[in-house]
């Protein structure tokens, strides 16, 4: 961490999930899932609750045995990594420390098992800003502090690859902002950062790439702009005018669909913003607002995962 360069031992740090499947009884929790996660970028792993995100991450980390398929980090399975914590840091659930153990001792236990020097525990606590609470017992930690402790544990081995399951859960706005800049910083150093979440607005701010799954299957993968851009057919234009009826009449000739909102604006579907402006000018209609509404990740996500029941 100190020199900002990740250890080279985890290969290039690329995560490759290939044909991954987990069947529980009759439920295919993860169904022939394949995607890749590149180093140097923050990748958002998105899906409705119950889509199979956590199961996928747990298979990637050798905690759950896949029914079939493989998942590798830097070309190797997690179980085959010689010193896994030096390659991969993972934050899975916020409550995974003994209630009556202090934060610093929780980290020292991991250091001992991983063969890492003891002072790494102090260093990572400093890194996540938990030093003042080092000697407090875990049961006295807030949810946000628990998340920070989890991240501290993941950073112990200065890993090339970071995997986080819903890290924003329980964080206050300050904490979310801290997490965002922290993870972006790690990616900027060339590390691989894979973050699962269902908080889409947060993902739009944080992620470079997204992997969207629903009902255990891949729905879409790619850079955020490309995934959002692939849905541009739903660009809408928002307009305010003192002469709404005249504008509606003028636009009717352009095959545009117009909706009136409660606050008196018009939302126009089917034509782009320049067309709306030109139409208004030609008809000598006064405009007070003309805003193209870009679809956001949330809209795209809802559209892509619509109808795929989360509870199976």
């Amino acid at each position: 961490m100190s020199d900002g360069r990740p250890s080279p031992a985890a290969g290039n740090g690329q995560i490759v999930v290939s044909g991954l499947t987990k069947v529980y009884g009759t439920v295919r929790a993860v169904d022939n899932l394949s995607f890749t996660v590149e180093p140097g970028r923050v990748t958002g792993f998105l899906g409705p609750n119950g889509a199979g995100k956590t199961t996928t991450l747990r298979m990637l980390l050798n905690l759950v045995t896949p029914t079939s398929g493989t998942a590798t980090i830097g070309g190797r399975r997690y179980v085959d990594l010689a010193d896994p914590l030096r390659h991969v840091g993972a934050v899975l659930e916020a409550s995974s420390a003994h209630k009556s153990r202090t934060g610093i001792n929780h980290l020292r236990v991991i250091c001992a098992a991983a063969g890492l020097p003891r002072q790494r525990a102090d260093e990572v606590l400093e890194l996540v800003g938990l030093t003042p609470a080092a000697k407090r017992r875990f049961k006295g930690y807030s949810l946000g502090m628990r998340q920070r402790l989890g991240i501290a544990a993941a950073m112990l081995g200065d890993p090339q690859v970071l995997i986080l399951d819903e890290p924003a859960n329980g964080l206050d706005p300050e904490g979310i902002r801290w997490m965002r800049s922290f993870l972006k910083g790690l990616a900027a150093q060339g590390r691989t950062v894979l973050v699962s979440s269902h908080l889409l607005s947060e993902m739009q701010l944080l992620a470079d790439d997204v992997v969207i799954i629903a009902a255990g299957r891949l729905v879409r993968q790619g850079p955020v702009e490309a995934v959002v851009g692939s849905m541009t057919r739903s660009v809408r234009v928002r307009v305010r005018t003192p002469q709404p009826d005249e504008l509606v009449a003028a636009l009717a000739e352009q095959n545009a669909r117009v909706e009136r909102t409660e606050d008196g604006a018009l939302v126009i579907d089917g034509v782009d913003a320049p067309t709306v402006g030109r139409t208004a000018l030609t008809a000598k209609i006064e405009l007070h607002e003309l805003t193209p509404e870009r679809p956001d990740l949330e809209g795209v996500f809802l559209e892509l995962t619509a109808g795929k029941a989360a509870i199976r």
Binding site: T65, L85, H98, S100, V109, I110
Partner: protein
Amino acid sequence: MRLVRSELLKIRTTHTWWIFALIALPLWGITLFFNYISSQFLVDPASVGAPEAAQSEELRVAADPLNIASNLYTNGQFLGVMIVMLLGIIVVTNEFFHQTATTTFLTTPHRTAVVLGKLVAAALLGLLFWIVTAALNLAVTPLILSDLGLGNQLDQGAVWQAIALNGLAYLLWAVFGVGFGVLIRSQIGATVTGILLYLAGYIGAGLFLAQLAQRFGDWINNLQLLVPSLASQLMTTGTDLPGNPPRWAGAVVMVGYAVVAGTIGTLIMRRRDIS
């Protein structure tokens, strides 16, 4: 080695071990009191009003100063090994109770190594409990023996044998506890079942086998060996008691149980999904 250090650190950084030590100490005191009374009875049955004729052959052998001494020098075993077994159970079930299993297996994906680390750490903890009880017994027993008009018996190899076998019992019960904890993941389930099996095995099976022995002959008493709590008691008698299996057989049975529990536990742990 790393894993053993990590496991020992886990134990040291929570309250569990010293709470158990605090429980073990008064229990040691209580059993010492009862052993003192029963030793007095064995040395001089008439003093507590038992008729001479009631003495069986087994009692006469038990009254051998050597056996009285062995019993006193290994005082506290009956409840001590149970506490050590509970510690072994907790070393494993804590991981699920506090959801630390995820962190543990992320740090060490090779689960057999994790279980082995826990087995060794629990065994060391068991030995620590044994060392403390043995030291207390070595301090107190000579006083009791001289009160009973017997020498301290420390020049007898059999006494030291009993003390050493007692250490083995502590170690094996700790290992047994770890295996048991892996088998039953629920902390409450595992501890309650463990205590019930231990006590019921001791009292219930003892009575049951004694009944059967009266009907079918003394050889039935050899089946005591199959009951872990009786097998470990057998290990600490000073000499072989008539009508009872030899001491080494108790040790063999206990090693067998510990190995079986540890192996089955490890195999289960290797296959289990951690979620």
